[in-house]
């Protein structure tokens, strides 16, 4: 297995666990307060990264701009997803629709970064996006809860 794939799978496992812990949180507090403490945890983690990892500096402007923009884009995305749910969208539809976001990443990466995928990788990426959409659909019994 490729090293990058191992890292990617670790990320998906950790993010997958957050699906449960976030539910445990929003069962008790509002989504806004939950998101606020989610952000504070990011700040705390950054403090720990500064102390433990001793990161190297000396960075290019483009890389810094993209990284800072990444935090803003991802955070705003979480916020707009809450707005979608609060604006009357059914969770099963909104979450399934939002699961299409990697499709845009693929499109942008191919068009702007010139990335090229093998046929197997293309099949894998398409299957992954289809799987993410299906997984995000509510089971019939849970929609009645």
């Amino acid at each position: 297995m490729h090293l990058w794939l191992g890292f990617a799978i670790t990320a998906l496992v950790l993010w997958g666990i957050t699906g449960v812990t976030q539910k445990l949180s929003t069962n008790r507090i509002s989504s806004e307060r939950s998101f606020l403490w989610f952000c504070w945890a990011m700040v705390a983690l950054s403090g720990a990264v500064l102390v433990v990892a001793r990161p190297h500096w000396g960075l290019g402007t483009l890389a810094v701009a993209c990284s800072v923009a990444g935090g803003a884009l991802n955070g705003l995305g979480a916020w707009t997803s809450f707005r979608a749910l609060e604006s009357g969208g059914k969770a099963s539809i909104v979450i399934s629709l939002i699961s299409l976001y990697p499709l845009l990443t693929v499109l942008l990466a191919v068009l702007l970064l010139g990335e090229r995928l093998t046929w197997t990788q293309t099949a894998g990426a398409v299957t992954a996006i289809a799987a993410a959409i299906l997984l995000s659909m509510e089971a019939p019994h849970s929609s009645q809860a």
Partner: protein, 159 residues
């Protein structure tokens, strides 16, 4: 709360012809889809730890806005178990942040944005598996199919 999803959809406010929920969903796709791209560009110029630090800096203005919003609503959220709710939210943030570091590391290690983004977007498979194992939730046929396809996708991307 107290209304069926169908009636909530019928009450949906609209912006022009698009229902607001659809507009917010499309904006979310654009924001998260672009995040994958800029993460790859950033990963070409820094390690995963610095990326996570700067990512948090980018998150800061939103944190201030949400803190202000929550402060205004502070009287409306006095449910039982608030401390546990905050604990789980904080834990979610730690897991999410460490997940981010691995996501960035995947790109630093040579993973293409066009492959890493779809792989990591499979994270609901873990949520579904945990709910199945620990919460004894039952899965619908569609979710079983999604779970099967998720394993097929990982296999295809690993060969």
């Amino acid at each position: 709360m107290g209304t069926s999803p169908e009636s909530r959809v019928n009450q949906t406010s609209r912006t022009g012809r698009l229902p607001k929920w659809l507009l917010w969903s499309l904006v979310t796709i654009v924001l998260w889809g672009t995040w994958g791209l800029v993460s790859k560009v950033a990963s070409a110029g820094m390690d995963a730890y610095v990326n996570q630090l700067l990512y948090t800096a980018g998150l800061a203005p939103l944190l201030v806005f949400v803190a202000w919003t929550v402060h205004r609503q502070s009287g409306e959220d006095k449910r039982d178990g608030r401390a546990m709710g905050i604990f789980w939210a904080f834990f979610t943030g730690i897991l999410g942040g460490v997940g981010n570091i691995f996501f960035f590391q995947a790109m630093v290690a040579g993973g293409k944005a066009s492959v890493v983004a779809p792989v990591t977007a499979l994270f609901p498979m873990i949520t579904v598996l945990l709910a199945l194992i620990f919460l004894h939730e039952r899965l619908g046929r569609v979710q079983w199919l999604g779970l099967g396809l998720a394993f097929v996708a990982i296999y295809l991307l690993s060969v």
